[in-house]
């Protein structure tokens, strides 16, 4: 791993932590404020790509594990990982990787803005929602004995908010791609 990749990874972990400290984002048409940190998976995958993004999340989880309050609201410690929602946290790593993988394949620096935004949106939906929900649900279903379908349906409450986040993350990722492109390109 190059020193630059190591630094980009660590800086993105630091950004994710700061996104948990700054005031939540309020949108005129949504009643609940959005915590910027909850878009971290989508942002990391779309901006620094699959490998570095997933490593940034592994580093974040390591910090949670050793007892640093790095998650929004000052949460941290092994207690956060030990709960039935631990599968979602593992899902962050894989979800970031998949978001990055999709983005690296379909978004090109030469494309028009609308196509890039659409590409990032799709990548965020697949990785940031699909993969995270899937892993979280499997873990939940195994640990509670609840059926998979029942556990999956519990996610439905969060779906509208997360689709909105995918949209915001896609816009931000496209702005970063224009200003300072870092996303590796895959064919």
């Amino acid at each position: 791993m190059s020193t630059r990749d190591l630094v980009l990874t660590a800086l993105f972990t630091a950004i994710i932590i700061v996104l948990g400290i700054i005031p939540p984002i309020t949108l005129a048409f949504v009643p609940v404020p959005i915590t910027a940190q909850s878009m971290g998976v989508m942002l990391a995958g779309c901006i620094i790509g699959a490998k570095r993004g997933a490593l940034a999340y592994l580093l974040l989880i390591l910090m949670v594990a050793v007892g640093l309050p790095v998650l929004s609201g000052g949460r941290g410690g092994l207690a956060v990982l030990a709960g039935p929602t631990g599968g979602y946290i593992a899902g962050w790593v894989v979800g970031t990787f998949v978001t990055g993988l999709v983005a690296e394949r379909i978004v090109r620096e030469t494309q028009g803005g609308a196509r890039q935004i659409a590409g990032f949106f799709l990548a965020s939906i697949i990785g940031g929602i699909g993969v995270v929900y899937l892993m979280g649900t499997i873990w939940l279903a195994i640990n509670t004995g609840m059926g998979f379908v029942a556990a999956l349906s519990a996610n439905a409450v969060f779906l509208p908010g997360d689709i909105l986040k995918a949209g915001i993350a896609a816009l931000a990722a496209r702005a970063v791609l224009v200003g300072y492109p870092l996303l590796p390109q895959r064919s």
């Binding site: 791993m1 190059s2 020193t3 630059r4 190591l6 630094v7 980009l8 990874t9 660590a10 800086l11 993105f12 972990t13 630091a14 950004i15 932590i17 700061v18 400290i21 700054i22 005031p23 939540p24 984002i25 949108l27 910027a36 942002l43 901006i47 620094i48 580093l59 390591l62 910090m63 594990a65 050793v66 007892g67 640093l68 309050p69 790095v70 000052g74 941290g76 410690g77 092994l78 207690a79 956060v80 990982l81 030990a82 709960g83 039935p84 929602t85 640990n143 509670t144 004995g145 609840m146 059926g147 029942a150 556990a151 915001i168 931000a172 702005a175 970063v176 200003g179 300072y180 870092l182």
Partner: protein
């Protein structure tokens, strides 16, 4: 900023090695799935609550640390009770409450530095296989702790710059500039690490 969740103390739990505490936590995470008796599991919750109480976490600290995990298991247990049986819901609640209390105990009684040392040791076999570099993990962690306050300050100055220009302060608008400004430093930081020879072993 980023003050560790460790609580100063000299109790028995503070003196136990990190490895022992993690091993007990891991064993407990398997043991709670060996029984479905709500009375046994309820006893386990009480026992771990007692253990947690010995490490010197104040009541308000305990509430702020445990509230979120407990609410989340409450919701999950509620859903389980609804889809399965109430007893089933109670079993889920007790199992995870036990684990969360024990996990919070380990966190409160262990210093970040000791934890990192144990993790570095656990990584050694992987390092020998060439999969990871334990020193890099420490370096990356140091970088994060070093740059979190820097980035938070940068967010503040971006916010002020927006306000000074009479623009509405929208966190959404500042997301991309914040990320760009931060990641642009990566090249210089990486060059400095190489110039100082910090990754030679």
């Amino acid at each position: 900023m980023l003050k560790s969740l460790h609580v100063e103390g000299t109790t028995l739990l503070h003196r136990l090695s990190v490895r022992t505490k993690l091993a007990v936590l891991f064993a407990a995470s398997l043991a709670v799935f060996l029984t479905v008796d709500p009375f046994v599991l309820g006893g386990a919750v009480l026992l771990s609550a007692l253990v947690f109480a010995t490490v010197g976490v104040s009541f308000s600290q305990a509430v702020s640390r445990l509230a979120w995990p407990l609410v989340s298991i409450g919701l999950v247990a509620g859903a389980t009770a609804f889809f399965e049986t109430p007893v089933h819901g109670l079993v889920v609640l007790f199992r995870f409450a036990t684990l969360i209390l024990l996990a919070a105990t380990v966190t409160a009684s262990t210093e970040v530095g000791d934890f990192m040392e144990e993790i570095t040791r656990l990584m050694m076999p992987f390092e020998r296989l060439g999969l990871v570099n334990a020193a890099d993990i420490g370096l990356a962690l140091g970088l994060v702790l070093r740059f979190v306050p820097e980035i938070a300050t940068r967010y503040e100055s971006l916010r002020e710059a927006h306000a000074a220009r009479g623009l509405p302060v929208r966190p959404l608008k500042m997301l991309a500039p914040l990320i760009i400004l931060t990641l642009k430093d990566a090249d210089m930081i990486a060059m400095a690490i190489d110039a100082r020879g910090l990754r030679r072993h």
